[in-house]
């Protein structure tokens, strides 16, 4: 007699299990915390800034009174604000350009095998990882008018004398150069990582073919590798521009906007007016000037990336 196995009785399965098996539901579930995070930490403060910028809200009188665009009008009429806007562009694009150049050369150097390369790769991330408050103290001493180690070295080497030593943070042009250099120093490890990721993703056979065809170092780098990695570099640049344009830490810690507002940037100005002086509505209006600029930059760069994508 043939014994037929009893059919296995199916356990009742909850509907919930099936919902979780759906990729679209599970995907949305996993992305939700990130969206919530961005909404709470970016979206809500942004909406609050818009709300404050069209009101007469101050810490002295924390009541909401609609004033339209008059805060923006008053801010634009201030010549110091226009200087600040110019400084912000100079600070952002200057430090990004310098950071990119340093990043490109850093990446090329780190691609070559040499003893201790792994340690150097780890160390090169330090400027990015060190808290800016700590790094600024070190830079402040390097640029200090009385104890500058840079000046001390130049004097010791006989390049300059004490009376002609550069007044790094006291001369308006040098002070701007200093904040640009410090910010580029912060940014360049990130640029190195971006360039390294890009360069290593270029197929070796393309580089080999170019070499066989007689392309030298510069042609390989600037006519073959660079155009291929431009989309990834552009993404890195977007990050750099957005973070630098909205940053106030280097200026706040190193120059406090001086001398005579020569290094004041939008983030710093917004903080001084809105938080320190308690004029929240004007502070918000100053900060919101960053928005259209960043919006245009990001849109432009994303369009560029889309066109360049292979």
């Amino acid at each position: 007699m043939v014994t037929i196995a009893e059919p296995v009785r199916k356990q009742p399965v909850s509907r919930f299990r099936f919902i979780l098996d759906r990729r679209d539901v599970l995907g949305a579930l996993f992305v939700a915390p990130a969206i919530l995070y961005v909404f709470l930490l970016v979206g809500v403060p942004f909406l609050l800034a818009v709300y404050y910028s069209i009101s007469a809200y101050t810490i002295y009188d924390p009541s909401w009174r609609f004033v339209g665009l008059s805060n923006f009008e008053q801010v634009i009429q201030n010549p110091v604000f226009l200087d600040t806007l110019g400084n912000t562009f100079l600070f952002t694009f200057g430090s990004q350009l310098l950071g990119l150049i340093l990043g490109k050369f850093g990446a090329l150097l780190l691609l070559r095998p040499f003893p201790g390369r792994k340690i150097v790769r780890a160390l090169i991330i330090l400027p990015w990882a060190v808290p800016i408050a700590l790094a600024s103290v070190a830079w402040e001493w390097m640029f200090d008018s009385l104890y500058s180690v840079i000046n001390w070295t130049l004097i010791a080497l006989g390049v300059i004398d004490r009376s002609n030593a550069p007044n790094w943070l006291g001369n308006p042009h040098l002070a701007m150069l200093c904040v640009i250099v410090v910010n580029a120093w912060r940014f360049f490890p990130f640029a190195i990582v971006v360039f390294l990721a890009g360069i290593t993703s270029v197929p070796q056979d393309i580089i080999d073919a170019a070499t066989v065809d007689g392309a030298g170092f510069w042609r390989r780098n600037y006519q073959i590798i660079l155009p291929m990695i431009l989309p990834i570099v552009a993404i890195g640049l977007i990050f750099g521009i957005v973070f630098t344009f909205t940053d106030l830490s280097v200026v706040y810690l190193l120059t406090n906007g001086g001398p005579v507002n020569a290094t004041s940037v939008l983030g710093f100005e917004g903080f001084q007016v809105g938080i320190v002086s308690g004029d929240v509505s004007h502070g918000a209006a100053i900060s919101l000037f960053m928005l259209p600029v960043l919006f245009l930059v990001v849109i432009g760069m994303l369009r560029f990336i889309r066109r360049r994508e292979i």
Partner: protein
């Protein structure tokens, strides 16, 4: 041999386990909250936040003083010290969150009048201390006092004065006394030639904000009128003040001063380079620790005389009790007890914290009249009269949000710095006046 097999992590298992963990973590505070909040309600607490004092010994004294008071009254006291530059941002954060410390200690400009609607009225407390310890000085009344309704929105704690600190041997060597602005320029030029320039910052920080206001006032100029209604900066007196700073900068100082922070002038005189600075006595106290020889040569005098008056800016310190503070009564009781022991606070600050109430530190004041660490012992005696020559940023009017913003934007420093670096005095004053008028116009519509 038994091998331990790791169970495969499936999507379902991952979701199940993380879900349970999140639920457990999320519900734990909910379940324990009633017990915790009851326990917290039973234990009284008082939280205080204030700047990290330039005299670290004062912070140590204050922390112990507050803790001892708490133990006596069964109140758990916590004192947080934050860097002075973080005070404004911290206050804004606590006010907007409607949560934070019970007692907030402000330093410098801003605070009492700006946060008035967030602070408990302490008029009765201030008046009771005034009855006990004498009249509030002029600078004291510029801090936390509301002229419109004669109320106090903060308890005025102390002010920090800015006397002249000079190297006696150097000035004796040229046969001069730095007792007037003109003498500082003339003598400073001679001493600069010998390698000992005058060191007054023209950068963006508190010291120049305070010092250059003193110079402006001593020349008869001011940002606002006595009522605090109009900007009066555009005057012949202000132009003369800027012309003087330009001359002082060229003849007696070095371009270094354009980038200085608050610590720079201290380092300048303590290192033995500078012949004169204008600063609180922290510079002298640091020199006593670092360079005794230089410290013995540093002497202190009243601010320099100007063509119109002898006056100097000062930094004001005050305590506010938030309206959202959970222990307002404890905060008031603490301030009352603190006022009763203010002489000890004065001593702990080595004479840095200057009294607001006329008799709270009876004259001759300890340390200042007879400082065993100084040679001669009465070197600091002149500071006992600093209430006569110190004023808050709003002088001759009240301090209010507009004068605070003028202060926070370094407009007076920049006016002087522009004049010093080549912009004409007239244009510098005109620029600063436009800036001040825009700020006043804005706040007059809002305050």
């Amino acid at each position: 041999m038994r091998t331990r097999k790791l169970a495969r992590v499936t999507r379902r298992r991952f979701l199940k386990q993380t879900g349970f963990t999140l639920i457990a973590a999320g519900t734990a505070p909910l379940i324990s909250a009633p017990f915790v909040s009851r326990a917290l309600a039973d234990a009284k607490t008082l939280s205080i936040v204030q700047w990290s004092h330039f005299v670290p010994a004062y912070d140590k004294w204050f922390d112990k003083f507050a803790r001892d008071w708490g133990e006596k009254n069964q109140i758990g006291v916590t004192v947080d010290h934050i860097p002075v530059q973080d005070v404004a941002a911290r206050a804004a954060a606590e006010a907007s969150a409607q949560a934070g410390h019970d007692l907030f200690g402000w330093n410098g400009a801003g605070g009492a009048h700006l946060y008035r609607k967030f602070l408990v009225d302490v008029t009765s407390l201030v008046e009771s201390v005034e009855q006990k310890y004498g009249k509030i000085t002029v600078i004291g009344r510029q801090i936390g006092y509301n002229q419109d309704d004669h109320s106090w929105s903060a308890f005025p704690d102390y002010y920090i004065n800015f006397p002249v600190m000079y190297r006696k041997s150097l000035w004796d060597g040229i046969g001069m006394q730095p007792d007037s602005w003109d003498n500082i320029r003339i003598g400073g030029a001679k001493l600069k030639a010998k390698g000992n320039p005058v060191g007054i910052s023209l950068g963006h920080s508190n010291d120049p904000n305070t010092t250059w206001r003193g110079l402006l006032w001593s020349y008869g100029g001011a940002v606002q009128d006595e009522a605090g209604k109009h900007v009066v900066l555009n005057s012949k007196e202000s132009v003369e003040a800027v012309k003087f700073v330009a001359a002082l900068y060229k003849e007696a100082m070095t371009p270094d001063v354009l980038s200085w922070s608050d610590a720079s002038n201290n380092q300048y005189i303590d290192s033995g380079v500078s012949s004169l600075i204008i600063n609180p006595i922290s510079a002298y106290r640091t020199a006593q620790q670092l360079n005794k020889k230089v410290a013995d040569d540093i002497f202190v005098m009243k601010p320099p005389k100007g063509p119109v008056r002898q006056i100097m800016g000062a930094a004001a310190e005050f305590y506010g009790i938030w309206k959202f503070a959970k222990n307002q009564d404890a905060a008031k009781d603490f301030l009352k007890y603190y006022a009763d022991n203010w002489v000890e606070a004065f001593k702990a600050s080595s004479g840095y914290n200057m009294p607001i109430f006329a008799n709270i530190v009876p004259k001759p004041m300890p340390l200042l009249s007879d400082d065993p660490t100084s040679t001669p012992h009465d070197k600091l005696a002149v500071l006992q009269t600093s209430d006569e020559w110190s004023a808050a940023p709003g002088y001759p009017g009240p301090s209010w949000p507009a004068t605070d913003e003028v202060y926070n934007d370094f407009i007076i420093c920049d006016m002087m710095a522009k004049g010093a670096t080549g912009v004409s005095a007239e244009d510098s004053v005109k620029w600063a006046t436009q800036q001040c008028e825009a700020i006043f116009k804005k706040w007059q519509h809002r305050a």
